[in-house]
Symmetry: C2
Subunit: 159 residues, 2 copies
């Protein structure tokens, strides 16, 4: 089953109307690994130019409220979004110099986490774990000569 179909079902179950625009935005969002809001706006408009910016942003809020969208913030540049629905939970390791992002899983953390959360009487909804560092390549570049991080790339576009 396609991921976007399941997400559409999820939204429907929450009583959210599935309009043509929303379907389109969801499908385009799902097709990227990481994307900025403006990239998504452009991407959607390439297909259907009449879709308003506001509509795209509103869908992002819906996805967030449905708990299937993560936001990754950096010092430079706009946040990147990621539709997490149907993906195994993973954490991120990023190079602060070149912007490379590595996704990885670490089940041992997940367990420790539950423990800590329960101790404080919390009900866990989500979590993010981000490691910042220098990748192999960038470790060998003189930091004084290195240019500012260019702005993080979108890793890959998947159908």
């Amino acid at each position: 089953m396609k991921r976007f179909v399941l997400i559409e079902q999820l939204l429907k179950d929450k009583g959210i109307r599935l309009t043509t625009q929303r379907r389109l935005v969801v499908r385009r969002a799902v097709s990227h690994l990481h994307f900025t809001a403006e990239e998504l706006v452009a991407d959607v408009r390439a297909i259907e130019p009449s879709v308003a910016r506001g509509t795209v942003y509103r869908v992002l809020i819906l996805l967030h409220e449905a708990g299937v969208l993560e936001k990754h913030d950096f010092w430079h540049g706009p946040p990147y979004y990621e539709v997490t629905f149907g993906k195994a939970h993973h954490d991120h390791l990023m190079c602060v110099q070149c912007g490379e992002i590595i996704e990885f899983q670490e089940p041992r953390w997940e367990r420790l986490q539950e423990e800590v959360v329960k101790q404080h009487g919390y009900q866990l909804l989500s979590h993010t774990h981000k490691l910042y560092g220098l990748c192999e390549r960038c470790q060998h570049v003189d930091p004084k000569r290195a240019s500012k991080p260019p702005h993080l790339h979108v890793e890959e576009v998947v159908a």
Copy 2:
């Protein structure tokens, strides 16, 4: 030794000039646990109204580049900053409803982390680990009736 003196030394060692304004901003920043940029601007100006907003933001960038400032982003509202210099590393557990923030330490994570990072040939610079959930109190409130998270409070002001 006061924390801000050590931070000033750190900046000096990096060849950064210590102006009156910078000293003031650093001191005010250190005196809060978490703060927004605009809160810091207001706080600094309460003491020295002539300090420009730009100056405050520039100090935040310096602290960030010196690796002693963390930024915490949320969906609603502006990011919160935190001067981490001289504090034992800790992670955050936040209530998405009322904005309560709990700081905790978990040494077992730190070890696992190093492991993962090395596997990928990275040199670790920093990391953040954030858990989002509902605190005891908010678990018992009907989510439909609950108001949007008000905006996160600054926990406490320490001298």
